[in-house]
Amino acid sequence: MLLIYCPYCQEHRPEIEFQGAGEAHIARPANIADISDAEFAEFFFIRDNTKGIVFERWRHTHGCGRFFNAVRNSVSDKFIMTYKAGEPKPELTEEQIKAAAPIAKKPVAQKSDSAPSKADKAK
């Protein structure tokens, strides 16, 4: 079960206190009534759904009730950081990204001379 740091409570709390709330940094257009179909689709429907680093919203529903943002690696499930709603999208350092990266499936040092199998090609 994930441990999530609430930037308002300033504590790590278990996942069951929180609700995910989708991708972060999607601002509601101020002139929303006037935007085009394509712009509306971009705002409402289209999401990056990245495999890897994701910027996402959470709400500490069973705690302080505040919405906040988080950066997480969706493969390793490791959080890089959380920050308050309204704060700008953070620039990540190489170290931060590396620390949350999943471990490679095969040891980097081990080199296979054999031709890639069918399964490997399918990936």
């Binding site: 079960m1 509601r28 499930d77 471990i103 040891p107 054999s114 399964a119």
Partner: protein, 989 residues
């Protein structure tokens, strides 16, 4: 040494073993009474009584014996009962401790363990190859439901489930610690001591009753200058005295979850004869640890050779455990077949303790000279570079056939037990569950922990240590301490995975890999020949590793044989995924308290008790219990609802509306916020007036609705649907916090602060009037709200109606809800006031065409579809959903619109959800143009009524349509949604 004549079994060894022999206890095995000592497992007790035959295998019903002394046991799977309700199938006899009065029974046999009809499958074995079920039960499709599936279900499956409810209780605890140590062998104990002495909070758990791990099977090792088990005893005693250490025996770490959350299953009472009924049977621990030290040891493998599954074939380490810890002799003429050094020491221990060794066969031609010398000293015959090619004996092994690697010197040796070792498989289960990476070490034929994904360290046998000194060094390294000194005799060097080279596989060859699922080497080879390239496919095709033991002994053999057959290396084939639980966990442990009343939250209103006393039938609405209807003696639901409906329209009804969601919206920007959240205009709503509000999502579809009252310029009393309250508040908070954080608005849920009594009907005003203070009812038109007092308590009195009658919703503080209700009830009764439930509420609102969000809408309905365009503020420049409503598909022709339906036969009541077509004679599949959303018998209309969403519904007034049902199509006529009082004169009366 000799066999003792003690009462607890004829095969006890004098002066051997660590059990307390002061008192014997009795248990039954297949109805026969036997004795054991406290501390015996069922396996050791059976062996002490000379019983090796413990079960029948799954597919071939072959007689099987006790193979191991631990949780990896695939064969001795039994049914354990305390009484008729407390019975558990599929228990491993090697784990279950014997208690006085225990009833143990063998499984998967008929009529008896030593004579089983199903064993005929064994002779048909060549005709039940891998993938047999896939190949055989293919057609015709109709046979699946009635022939194949019942057959497979009856033939397959171990044990029988208990039929009575489990009377035991189960507990749950959360714990946090600096260090969790999983496994209480030498590595785990040494690491716990080191961490505890540094002041860390430590939890140490071990699945067995006694700590020590494999040391329990060892009588030679010394640690810190004393016999190893003495060191274990003093270490555990020291740890138990420390406040910062929690010691949990009989506790299995079975699941490693994200962020160092480890699940433990503690068996609290399963070993006790008369457990305290207050004690939980088992306890789930959810431990969050800063660091996890995985000290889970290693599991010995069997060897794959023909006839390797006969009763009294046993792992060498298990035989050593039964001899040295339990003091039980497993045979009087024991054969040894090994590829690992450790089995030699086991053989020496057995030989010296009343189980003479007939011959040690080692598959390796090179065996350490000191082992050969020791065997020579003890007078034990040895054959290095040999293999066992056959065994005999149906209910217990009686001989093994041995030959040299080159096939020469074939010899049949009479034996009554055979101990085997193919080397040791590190228990990397927890590490792998944590998503740590494994690496294959070809030299030792083992997958070993490589890079960790969580903050955990593997120590000892699970990390590849092959000796006690390596184990203790590991523990010291992980805890930054000095290694404890030790002396040892055994080592885990040597291994064989898969079959010996060149062993043939005839159609009748029974070289078992997976005992519980009856998978042989031949089956794996066949699977590969039939095109299974990945180990995941081989596993599913042959079912190897898919039994309750999850292949703890078999997986490496299956992998090696598949790799050989494919001509590839083991790491290229991959390893099947390790998943929780490590060993079977009861459902009781997993659900623990969450059963019966604690299964889910039950919400009741302040008036709930009154409804119970007045015979209400309840329905579940979300977590709420709501009074559904109030039947009088002799009334069915329809009769009760008809009476309630008529009474409300003719006199008055009283209804508990307390479950309505209520949100207080307050602040200088409250009206601006309401303009954003709801489609309606709010600026001009006067203080003291109410308005029906519609909330959309950004996509333009209806999300919720409810009446909103304006209490002050900056204060709104917002009501939501009963089920929608939490998500509406979440939706509001989302916009307020993240889109408009500068707005000065505060949102508070008041759903449970206000009880709501609805009084509806022509006599509603007459009934409530005497209780109203500080409010002028003459000055309260329909859709108004006032603050004052009611029965002397503060109220928010709303004149609103969900029935179409003149009505009031009286909000009072929840604590006064029932007394206010009873006061109104007392006065109203002589005037014809009738309590009604949610069903009557549904009928009355449908008679007026009022929608219920979630019933008449489904998340794809716009306000216009529901005839609610009037509720959209036409001059507004923004509200949630304003842009969504303009989407092409939402303004296109042909949308489904809400209309009324009248069946041509007025007595016919449609089914909600029924589909609607234009022509009932068109070919199937018919074109569906809509569906029924609400349908009731309306006593007030004297006919059935219905609401439906139908394509271009509003343009179809008077049109005849059809609702196809199983018994023929029902003809209906499209009509307006309002069935009663279309001009609303009753509301304003």
């Amino acid at each position: 040494m000799s066999i003792s004549s003690a009462t607890a079994g004829a095969n006890r060894i004098r002066n051997r073993g660590r059990l307390n022999r002061a008192r014997s206890i009795s248990f039954s095995w297949d109805g026969k009474s036997l004795n054991a000592y406290e501390g015996d497992t069922l396996a050791s007790a059976l062996l002490a009584n000379g019983i090796h035959l413990a079960g029948r295998s799954f597919k071939y019903h072959r007689p099987r014996g006790i193979l191991s002394a631990g949780p990896e046991e695939p064969n001795a799977i039994v049914d354990i009962a305390r009484d008729t309700a407390r019975r558990q199938p599929n228990v491993r006899a090697t784990v279950q401790e014997v208690f006085d009065g225990m009833q143990a029974n063998s499984q998967n046999r008929f009529p008896a363990l030593n004579f089983d009809v199903g064993a005929v499958n064994d002779f048909f074995g060549p005709f039940i190859p891998a993938g047999f079920y896939y190949k055989t039960f293919m057609w015709p499709a109709s046979f699946w439901k009635h022939v194949y599936e019942p057959f497979i279900r009856r033939a397959a499956g171990l044990g029988t489930a208990p039929t009575e409810a489990d009377p035991d209780n189960y507990a749950n605890r959360y714990a946090h610690c600096d260090v969790l140590v999983a496994g209480g062998g030498p590595a785990g104990i040494a690491a716990t001591l080191a961490a505890a002495r540094k002041g860390k909070t430590v939890i140490l758990c071990d699945e067995n009753a006694d700590f020590g791990g494999h040391l329990r099977a060892d009588i030679h090792a010394q640690i810190d200058g004393q016999p190893a088990m003495d060191w274990v005893a003093s270490a555990i005693a020291e740890l138990r005295r420390l406040d910062n250490v929690t010691i949990l025996n009989r506790t299995t770490a079975f699941g490693y979850h994200t962020a160092n959350m480890v699940a433990l299953a503690e068996r609290v009472t399963d070993h006790l004869a008369n457990p305290d009924p207050e004690m939980p049977r088992e306890r789930l621990w959810q431990v969050r640890a800063e660091t996890v030290l995985i000290a889970t040891g290693a599991i010995e493998r069997h060897l794959v050779f023909p006839g390797n599954d006969r009763p009294a074939v046993m792992l060498a380490s298990a035989a050593q455990m039964f001899t040295n810890h339990f003091g039980v002799s497993i045979g009087k003429r024991v054969g040894v077949y090994t590829a690992c050094d450790s089995a030699w020491q086991a053989a020496f221990d057995l030989h010296e303790a009343a189980s003479p060794i007939a011959l040690i066969v080692d598959a390796r031609s090179e065996v350490p000279s000191q082992l050969l010398a020791k065997a020579n000293d003890l007078g034990i015959a040895v054959k290095p570079g040999h293999k066992v090619t056959a065994t005999s004996g149906r209910l217990r092994i009686s001989s093994m056939t041995v030959e040299a690697e080159n096939g020469h010197g074939k010899e049949k040796i009479p034996i009554d037990a055979l101990i085997v070792s193919g080397g040791w498989t590190p228990s990397v289960h927890l590490f792998s569950q944590s998503r740590g990476r494994l690496a294959f070490d070809a030299d030792s034929g083992r997958f070993l922990p490589d890079e960790a994904a969580e903050n955990c360290i593997c120590i000892g046998g699970c990390n590849g240590a092959k000796s006690l000194s390596e184990t203790l060094t590991d523990a010291a390294k992980a805890t930054g301490s000095k290694p404890v000194s030790c002396e040892e005799t055994g080592s885990m060097v040597g291994h064989q995975i898969g079959t010996s080279n060149g062993q043939p596989g005839s159609a009748f060859d029974k070289s078992f890999i997976d005992f519980q699922n009856d998978v042989t080497a031949k089956d794996v080879r066949l699977a590969v020949r039939e095109g299974m390239l990945s180990i995941e496919h081989v596993k599913r095709y042959t079912t190897t590793g898919m039994a309750t033991d999850q292949g703890k002994m078999s997986n490496m053999h299956g992998l090696a044989i598949a790799a050989t057959e494919l001509g590839r290396e083991i790491p290229d084939i991959g390893l099947t995924t390790f998943r929780a639980p490590y060993t079977p966990v009861t459902f009781g442990t997993i659900i623990n308290h969450a059963k019966g009343k604690l299964f889910d939250v039950t919400r009741t209103t302040p008036i709930h008790g009154w409804a119970i006393e007045h015979d209400a039938v309840f329905e579940d609405v979300g977590n709420w219990k709501r009074a559904w209807y109030f039947p009088r003696p002799g009334e069915d639901m329809l009769a009760a609802v008809n009476r309630e409906c008529a009474a409300t329209r003719n006199a008055a009804g009283i209804f508990d509306a307390s479950t309505l969601g209520k949100i207080e919206v307050v602040g200088p920007d409250a009206v601006k916020f309401m303009e954003l959240m709801y489609t309606n205009p709010w600026q001009k709503l006067a203080v003291g007036r109410c308005r029906y509000g519609i909330m959309l999502r950004e996509d333009g579809f209806i999300y919720d609705d409810g009446v909103v009252g304006r209490l002050a310029e900056d204060r709104f009393h917002v009501t939501t649907t009963t089920g929608g309250a939490p998500r509406v508040l979440n939706h509001m908070e989302d916009y307020l916090q993240t889109e408009f954080p500068d707005w000065k608005v505060w949102l508070t849920s008041t759903s449970e602060q206000w009880a709501v009594v609805a009084v509806q009907g022509p006599k509603a005003r007459e009934i409530i009037e005497p209780f109203v203070e500080d409010i002028d009812l003459d000055d309260m038109p329909h859709m108004s709200i006032r603050e004052g007092r009611f029965c002397g308590v503060p109220t928010r009195l709303m004149r609103v109606s969900f029935t179409g009658e003149m009505g009031f919703e009286i909000n009072i503080p929840a604590n006064y809800g029932r007394s206010v209700w009873e006061t109104i009830w007392e006065r109203g009764q002589p005037l014809g006031l009738t309590p009604y439930g949610t069903e009557t509420m549904h009928v009355l609102r449908a008679e007026k065409g009022f929608i219920i969000v979630g019933q008449d809408t489904d998340g794809t309905v716009t306000p216009d579809d529901a005839n609610l365009s009037w509720a959209i503020g036409k001059k507004k420049t923004d509200f949630v959903g304003i842009r969504g409503l303009k989407r092409i598909d939402l303004v296109a022709d042909g949308r489904r619109q809400l209309v009324g339906l009248k069946t041509l036969d007025p007595r016919e009541v449609l089914e909600e959800g029924a589909q609607i077509v234009e022509d009932p004679h068109q070919p199937i599949p018919m074109k569906m143009i809509g569906f029924v959303t609400s349908s009731y018998w309306s006593e007030n209309c004297g006919r059935s009524i219905a609401l439906a969403l139908i394509e271009n519904g509003r343009a179809r007034m008077g049109e005849k349509l059809h609702v196809p049902m199983a018994n023929g199509a029902i003809a209906v006529e499209v009509c307006e949604t309002v069935f009663i009082d279309p001009d609303g004169s009753k509301l304003n009366g």
